[in-house]
């Protein structure tokens, strides 16, 4: 049984205009009583989100840039705590975000497979039989025993993808990870994702590729300024979304979306 439930979830970021304030500035501001150049801003990224996902569901999330899609995914993963509301999870989650981040530059490719694998919940016993297939799939060849700081960005993407998809998750969260590597690799990657998606019990994916979401998901959430605008069968919601993006009301930003669909 795998499920994800959000009840009236809000997420507010409190950010400074210039990143973090040094302690020095805080002290000076207190002493002089002036506000300083770096005011605190509240950014309401998710508002009143309620949704329930269960075994077997294939959820797609659409929305324009900055609608809160990736934020929602990271909140589902537990990386961002909700500012209000309740998040309930049943099952082991794995998130595929930022595939190229989080490599230890001094470690070899093989070392990094271990670090990432252990972080995703593997053990030495469970990782060992998968090791060679991860190495093969990444197509890194002899470089696998070289520190990853000498890798090209393409190699990093392939390695990251290969590790992240080698595990068997119950709940799979994917953020735009369908375009790793060159064309040949992409075809392989698509096959691998299909395999993985067959095994995962619950999938939530974010993509700008409308055609892909239409193929892979059965239910779609349309996010707009941090709110759920529509939640329903994939076909209906995507049709509405494409219509909206092509309409003058959206500022004509949807030309590309129309073509993709």
């Amino acid at each position: 049984m795998a499920s994800l439930t959000l009840e009236n979830v809000d997420l507010t970021f409190r950010v400074r205009r210039n990143r973090r304030t040094p302690l020095k500035d805080v002290v000076v501001q207190r002493l002089t009583g002036r506000g300083g150049q770096n005011p605190l801003m509240e950014v309401h990224s998710l508002r009143n989100i309620s949704a329930h996902f269960e075994d077997g569901a294939r959820i797609g999330i659409v929305g324009h840039n900055g609608a809160g899609k990736s934020t929602l995914l990271k909140m589902l993963a537990g990386v961002y705590p909700p500012s209000a509301g309740v998040r309930t999870v049943e099952g082991r989650i794995s998130g595929l975000f930022d595939l190229t981040l989080g490599f230890e530059p001094h470690g070899t490719g093989r070392d990094n497979i271990r670090y990432r694998g252990y972080l995703l919940g593997e053990t030495p016993q469970s990782l060992k039989p998968k090791m060679e297939s991860i190495v093969d799939f990444a197509e890194i060849g002899d470089f696998i025993d070289t520190p990853v700081r000498y890798y090209s960005s393409g190699m990093l993407v392939r390695l990251g993808f290969s590790i992240a998809t080698a595990i068997d998750p119950e709940i799979l969260l994917m953020d735009e990870c369908f375009s790793a590597g060159d064309r040949a690799f992409q075809r392989k990657a698509a096959d691998r994702l299909n395999e993985m998606m067959k095994k995962a019990r619950l999938i939530v994916m974010v993509s700008h590729d409308i055609g892909l979401l239409q193929r892979l998901s059965d239910r779609v959430l349309w996010l707009d300024h941090g709110r759920i605008r529509r939640d329903g069968p994939a076909k209906d919601v995507i049709a509405e979304y494409v219509d909206f993006m092509n309409s003058p009301a959206s500022g004509g930003a949807g030309a590309a979306v129309g073509k993709a669909a």
Binding site: P81, E104, L119
Partner: protein, 260 residues
Amino acid sequence: MLSYSANVWRFRYFWGSLVRMDIRTRYRGSWLGAGWSLLHPLAMSAAMCLVFHKLFGMSVEDYLPRLIAGMVFWQFLSTCAIAGCNCLTNGEAYLRQVPAPMAIYPLRTTLAAAFHLGIAFAVVLVGNAMINGVKDPASVLALFPMLPLLLLFGWSLAVLAGFAHAYFPDMHHLIEIGMQMLFYATPIIYTPEILRDRGMGWLLDINPLASLVEVVRLPLLGRGMPDPASYLTAGGLILITTSLAVLTLNRLERKVIFQL
């Protein structure tokens, strides 16, 4: 708290392998590497010993092991506090992807420093025994219960430094300066007697680190059991910093990601 520790343990392969890598990177896979990082406190101590020997007429056999023991002890604390500043920022890519307990990032810093401390202590223990012999062999045993406590202390410093640095980017400088000042306020390069003779004994009484260094150093050099009051002060200090670290994790663990 028990379930939190269990969660830290669940991720043991992750932080364990990172610690191993940190150690390997530091030592570059050779014992010569270990020698290099021991060389720093040894060279500092040798230079200082020479000065103090000439100025105050300290006996080298008595003073040098004491100095080195203090220096490696301090190196551990300052590594935990100063390198600890970056523990969360270094782990940022991980903590943005998986909600693992944040305690594991300071733990990584601390364990790598502790490994080094272990080697240094072994060198001091053997070296001192060879030069001076061990006056009170039973007291050496009192060192071992202190080691896990030292680990806890170092970890709590790393937690506090890591979170402080995540919230205030200039914390790094403050902590470096603070550690430098504490270094001179703690009887490491001088003996407690020098201060007491000059009417500055109060510095030892208000600085709990003076007790902590004493309860570690005396058994390490086999020079007798530390007095109970020192144990009490040192234990109190560790209890306070650990409580602060736990409190910090409890309050800020989920929120700190918005600061990174």
